[in-house]
C-alpha cells in the first residue's frame, strides 16, 4: 500500500463567470482522503460543497464559463489537467457518483438494468450478457427485490428509495476506488434515508472504497464518516475527525453549527441558538475571513487578513486567526455550550 493519499485536493478554486460578475463558488479548498476513508463535507446551501464535488470529475457543461484552479490529485494524477478521453475512463470506473435526486437522475425512457449495464459495458468491455448477469447480482446486493424481473422495468415504476438503490448500483458497478455521494438521502423519507446510508456504508467497507459524503446533516456524518470538512461560502473552515468533532471543534462557525444540532438529554427549555446574519455575497472579494461578519469572536484583523489553515493535531485543521488560542482554551475549559445543557 502506497503512502500517498487516494485523493489530494490542493487549493481548489472554482469560479463561474457571468457577463456581469464572477462567482467564487469554491475558494482555496484543501483536503486529503486516504484509501477506504470517508469524509463528510458539511455546509449550508450555497456553501460550495456540491460544486467542490463536481469539480473532482470536472462535471460542468461544455459551455459553462467555469474557471478551475488548484489541483485535484487522484492517485497522483491531476484530474483538472487530464485530457477529456482519459477523464472519461476515470468517471464511473474509478470514481462513482450518487446524485441528490433519484427522481430525476435516471433516464425515464431506458430500462433501469440497461442504465447500470451501460457503465459496465463501457468500462470493462463485457458482453451484453455478462453485463446483464452482473447487473442482476448488483441489484440483489443493493436490495432490489426480484432483480431478474425488474431489470427491464423503467424508472417510473420504482419508488424513490428503490431508484436511489439503482443509482447506487450504477455508481458502484465498476467497483470504483472513490464514491462521491451528493446529498444522497435529502430527497428521501427518514426510514429510507437510514437504509440507504447503511447500504452505502456496507458497500464502502466491502469494496474498500473511499467516500466523499456531501450533506448538511451532522447525524449522517457521524454515522458514516471518519472525518468531516466544514465549508462556508466556498472556503474550508475546519477539518476534524468525527470522533473528536464534538469535544475539539475549534472554528467559531463549526461551533455555531453544532449548537444547532438538537440533542437528547438537553434541558426542556433549552433553545437552539441560530447564527446571526446572512451568508456573504460570493460575487465580491473578501480580503479577510468570510465568516467575520457573523463571527461572535471577531477581531479587526479578521476583516483584512485572510486566515491560514492552522494544523491543530493529526487530521485537525482550522482556518481561523484565533485557532491556536481557542484550542488551548477549549482543552482547559471544555465546550462552552455543554455547561448550558
Amino acid at each position: 500500500m502506497s503512502t500517498t493519499p487516494l485523493l489530494q485536493i490542493r487549493d481548489l478554486s472554482v469560479a463561474f463567470r457571468t457577463p456581469r460578475s464572477v462567482v467564487n463558488a469554491v475558494d482555496g479548498l484543501t483536503y486529503e482522503l486516504d484509501r477506504g476513508e470517508a469524509i463528510g463535507i458539511v455546509g449550508e446551501s450555497g456553501s460550495g460543497k456540491t460544486v467542490a464535488a463536481l469539480a473532482i470529475l470536472r462535471l460542468f457543461g461544455l459551455f459553462d464559463h467555469v474557471e478551475l484552479s488548484g489541483e485535484v490529485l487522484f492517485e497522483g494524477r491531476n484530474l483538472l489537467a487530464l485530457p477529456a478521453a482519459q477523464l472519461r475512463r476515470i468517471r464511473g470506473r474509478e470514481i462513482g457518483m450518487v446524485f441528490q435526486d433519484p427522481q430525476t437522475s435516471l433516464n425515464p425512457v431506458m430500462s433501469v438494468g440497461d442504465q447500470v449495464a451501460e457503465s459496465i459495458v463501457y468500462h470493462t468491455n463485457a458482453t451484453e450478457k455478462a453485463a446483464r448477469s452482473r447487473v442482476i447480482e448488483l441489484f440483489e446486493r443493493v436490495g432490489i427485490p426480484d432483480p431478474v424481473r425488474r431489470y427491464d422495468d423503467r424508472p417510473h415504476s420504482f419508488s424513490g428509495g428503490m431508484r436511489q438503490r439503482v443509482m447506487v448500483a450504477i455508481a458502484v458497478a465498476c467497483q470504483p476506488k472513490l464514491l462521491i455521494a451528493d446529498e444522497p438521502t435529502t430527497a428521501l423519507d427518514v426510514t429510507v434515508q437510514a437504509q440507504i446510508l447503511k447500504l452505502l456504508d456496507e458497500l464502502r467497507r466491502e469494496m474498500g472504497m473511499a467516500l466523499v459524503m456531501i450533506t448538511h446533516d451532522f447525524g449522517v456524518v457521524a454515522s458514516t464518516c471518519d472525518k468531516v470538512l466544514v465549508m462556508y461560502a466556498g472556503r474550508a473552515m475546519e477539518t476534524c475527525s468525527v470522533a473528536h468533532l464534538f469535544e475539539r471543534a475549534n472554528h467559531p462557525y463549526t461551533e455555531g453549527l453544532l449548537r444547532l444540532v438538537p440533542r437528547f438529554g438537553q434541558q426542556e427549555h433549552h433553545r437552539l441558538t441560530p447564527i446571526e446574519g446572512q451568508p456573504p455575497e460570493l460575487t465580491v472579494a473578501h480580503p479577510g475571513c468570510v465568516f467575520a461578519e457573523r463571527c461572535p469572536h471577531v477581531e479587526e484583523r479578521c476583516f483584512t487578513v485572510r486566515p491560514d489553515r492552522v494544523e491543530l493535531g493529526p487530521q485537525h485543521h482550522s482556518t481561523c486567526h484565533l485557532a491556536a488560542e481557542r484550542a488551548q482554551r477549549i482543552t482547559v475549559a471544555g465546550r462552552p455550550w455543554e455547561a448550558v445543557g
Binding site: 462535471l59 459551455f63 475512463r89 441528490q100 430525476t104 463501457y122
Partner: protein, 295 residues
Amino acid sequence: MSIVIRDLHTATVAPSSAHRAVAAVRKQLWLVCPLFLMVIVLWAVAPGWFAPLDPERIDPRNRLVSPLTATEAGRHWAGTDQLGIDLFSAMVHGARLTLLVAVAATLIGACIGVIVGLLSGYFSGWVDRLLMRLTEAQTAMPMFLVAILLLSMLGPSVLILIIVLPTLVWPIFGRVVRAETLKVRESSYIEAAVATGCTTRAVITRHVLPNVMPRILVLMVIETGHVMLAEAGLSFLGVGVQPPDTTWGLLIADGRPLLTVAWWLTILPGVLLGLTVLCLNILSRRFETRAGAAG
C-alpha cells in the same frame, strides 16, 4: 311548474342512455382518423385490389360521367374525366406517389432537422448560434419559389421533388428539437450519464434523443400533411409530378379547366387530400396531448 322543475332535474343529473351513447361515440370519434389513413395506406400498397378499373383505360363513350353513374364498365363512384378514365380508380392509384413523396420528404427533413436541433441544443454557444442562423436563413428563403425555379430549370422529376420538399420542413424540426434538447440537457440523468463516463456522442444518442423522440414523432405526422399540400401545390402549378405518374395534386390540376362542366374532377381529389391532411392533424394533436400527459 313543479313538474317542469322535476323534469329538468332528472335531465341534468341522470342523462338518458342515448345521451351517454352519443357522448361515448363522440369520445371515440377520433378513431375514424387512423382507420381512414389505414385505408389510404392500403390503397398505396395495393391499388389493384381497391381500384375497380384500370386508371389508364380510356373510354371515349363515357367521358365526363358524373359520380355514382353506372356504365357497362361498372359503376363510376367518382365519375370520369374528359378521356373517360374512372376518377375513383385514378385517386386510388394516385395515393401511392402522393404518400411516397410526402413521407420520404418528411423523413429526410426530419433527419436533417433532428441532427441540427440536437447539436444546436446540446452544445449551445457558437455551434448553436451558427446552426440557428442557418435555420433562419433557410426559413427566410422562399423555398416554394426556389422549388418552382429549380424544377422548371432542371425539368420536373419526383427525385428533385423529394430533394426540394425537405427544405420546407427541416427548420421546423430543427427548432422544436433544439428547444426540447435544451430542456432535456439540464436533467440530472444527463449529468449522471456523463458521470458514468459516457462519451458526448453516447449521451446524445442514448440519452437525449430517446427523450426527444415523442416530440419528433408528433411533428412528423403533422408535417407529412404539410408536405403533402406543398407537393399538391407544385404539381398543380405543373412543376411537380408529371403524367403518366399521378398524385392527387395532379388530378386537381387536370380537372381545373373543366371546373364549370365537371366539378367532381377538382372537388373530389381535393376533398380526399383535405381529409387526409385533416386526419393527420387530428392524429398528431391526439399524440401530442398523450405525450404531454405521459411526460
